[in-house]
Symmetry: C2
Subunit: 410 residues, 2 copies
């Protein structure tokens, strides 16, 4: 029997369930007697290049389960986006460590890294199975119904907006909250799942899939404020004008850019503040408050969808079974929704797992379907709510209102 040496690493932004996938790899590998070693590279591809490795082979199942329930990336992560030379350095370590199976948990950039490493191994005739395990709160991977990490982050956003909307009803004014999502609006759209009553916020939702027009935005806010005496708005950090320029770049002077020229959108409250300033100065509304959900939406300890936990674990286990037991080649695990007779509804939701080509996912971005966005471009549709609801998990808290009669004035 061939000896198997597995290497697993985590890349990109942490999520509430990325450690479920890590633990899924380690525990599933224990079902294969060929597995001699399971390595964990620290801080993703950076740790592979630096040969910075933990030996996960004998980690106790008890500790692994505790780590699985912990958010962020237990091995550490990285923002490095390897080019061809970087991938050759990765490949050199894998070869030196006699790694036979490489599992990289991450988003579309991580899938691209796996693709390059896979091609390099093939070119050199080195027998290496390369698997990409999906992860991103942005939910923007092609070929997936949804991605591990998104349901838990969506749950956080829904619970946050439910509370913020109640707060806004208690102390009326305009409330604007900025949610993560540079190109895809899925996470911002999750704000809609916070609604229980017809006049609950968010009353307006702005997504990067549509062009943002400040005048139109102000007219929308004004109309809601006149109707209800208050207004709750969900805004994606990635909103942009017709030319594609980010509103954060237009409204915020001296906004920071990274090495790739990408504007810093998270870790600053500038966009929310700038939108609030527009509302105050243009609409003359007095109480205007802005929040930016920031890192809380992806890392908050104790807000997780158990559907997400299970699927993140299962996607990784599927990757291991395919890589060690299957006959196919390299690829990226995809979550699909299993259709049921009678249509997809809450009771009938079920996930299935499939393997797709790395090229189908690598460096590509999926955005929201038109069917998920309303005609006016300032809200989502019922179809989107039906899509997301079963992913949020059970025991979603619900807001209740008094139904007591209003007394005639004395």
């Amino acid at each position: 029997m061939t000896v198997a040496r597995l290497l697993v690493a985590q890349g990109g932004g942490p999520t509430a369930v990325i450690n479920q996938s890590l633990v899924g790899v380690v525990l599933q590998a224990r079902h294969f007697s060929s597995v001699q070693q399971v390595l964990g590279a620290r801080h993703g591809v950076r740790g592979i290049v630096a040969d910075d490795m933990l030996d996960l082979t004998h980690e106790s199942a008890e500790r692994l389960e505790a780590v699985a329930a912990t958010p962020a990336a237990a091995l550490g992560s990285t923002r490095d986006k390897p080019d061809a030379a970087y991938c050759q350095a990765i490949f050199a370590t894998l070869k030196r460590r006699a790694v036979t199976h490489f599992f990289y948990i991450g988003g579309n950039d991580s899938a691209d890294t796996v693709r390059i490493v896979s091609e390099e191994a093939a070119r050199q005739g080195y027998p290496l199975r390369c698997m990409h395990i999906p992860k991103t709160i942005d939910n923007d991977l092609m070929g997936n119904d949804h991605t591990p990490g998104y349901p838990s982050a969506a749950r956080f956003v829904a619970q946050a907006f439910a509370g913020a909307s109640l707060d806004n009803a208690a102390l009326p004014g305009v409330y604007v909250a900025v949610v993560m999502g540079r190109h895809a609006g899925f996470l911002t759209a999750a704000a809609a799942l916070s609604r229980t009553h017809a006049d609950d916020g968010p009353h307006l939702i702005y997504l990067p899939e549509r062009t943002f027009d400040t005048a139109r935005f102000l007219a929308d806010v004004k109309a809601v404020h006149e109707r209800l005496g208050r207004c709750v708005v969900a805004v994606s950090e990635g909103i942009h004008d017709a030319s594609g320029q980010a509103m954060a770049a237009q409204l915020v002077p001296n906004a920071e850019r990274d090495a790739h020229g990408n504007l810093q959108l998270s870790g600053t409250g500038a966009l929310a503040d700038a939108l609030c300033e527009q509302i105050k100065s243009q609409l003359k509304i007095k109480r205007v408050r802005g929040d930016t959900f920031g890192y809380l939406q992806r890392s908050f300890l104790g807000c997780v969808s158990e559907v997400d936990q299970l699927e993140a674990r299962e996607a990784a286990a599927f990757a291991v079974r395919h890589a060690l037991g299957g006959s196919g080649g390299d690829g990226s695990v995809a979550i699909r929704r299993v259709a049921r007779a009678g249509g997809v509804h809450e009771g009938a939701y079920e996930a299935g797992y499939a393997l797709q080509a790395l090229q189908a996912v690598a460096a590509k971005t999926r955005v929201m379907d038109d069917a998920f966005i309303n005609g006016a471009g300032n809200d989502v549709t019922a179809a989107f709510c039906d899509y997301l609801r079963p992913l949020l998990g059970s025991s979603m808290p619900r807001a209740a209102r008094l139904a007591s009669p209003l007394l005639p004035k004395t």
Copy 2:
């Protein structure tokens, strides 16, 4: 038997458990056959003056329980701080509605309103029992061990920092989060309860009880960053310099002020952004991220301490029992900690309830004891952690780490 007509209202910032107190009043009143009516004024004292009243007398217990579990203020709240004339208008409505018992759930400003109304009733010889029921996430009411609303907000802050610290360990850099608290640092201090391991964040905590010195702050951040390669900082929105001027006023141009001349501290990310800018420009650290917990920390649906829920309910029930069954006068309910042989520790925690004079609470602010703050003024003490821990409730999620051995480099 005298007929009793109760009026209850909610004032100030919403909390996770203010509706527990509302429901505590309504349900406890049902034990007294003298109670003919329970009125709920909408939006606090503003609704009393406007005679905007719900009749809570026959609200179903089932709905009341659902409302109790919902954050924010179900009756609506207000920021109005009544002066003598305003209190006379309140009193006029109470008289017209033949109210015999007035319960106001709120902070020190609300206690002051109750005090003035109580004095006005005495002056006019009108038999009115006036009770203040404590509520504030700031935990700044005199004579209380702690206040309803604080434990749940503290739990949110602790869970948020636990996640943010894990995120910061996965993708190292400096992370600064601004927490509510203008004069009292209790809520910011709760960040310390997120720690599980010795090097977990927050590594630095800045409170309004101590003078903030930017140079000292930067030196602190630099030292932690050099030691750990990362740094997580908790900052109270109320930090100020030696002259008492808020850092938000110094670092943020054009900061907004309210009608009372108070600087707007919440609902903007400006202070966090300004502190991050200082770190970037002065320390030349590249990855610096700032979050402002904003309204999430007081309204997030689904993060609550069951100790807090119980105490908020109990404090209100105590007020009703005192007002309808007791022989004493008007007052403010206080939560005390029952001391146990062997000292106060987690297993022995128990709350007791007492009545204190309205004057003892009204318009006064309690801040953190010196024993709760470390000598350097950049962290809390073990005594503070022991104080807060039993209030957070059960099933606080815990972060786990891998314990796998690091492999020697090949």
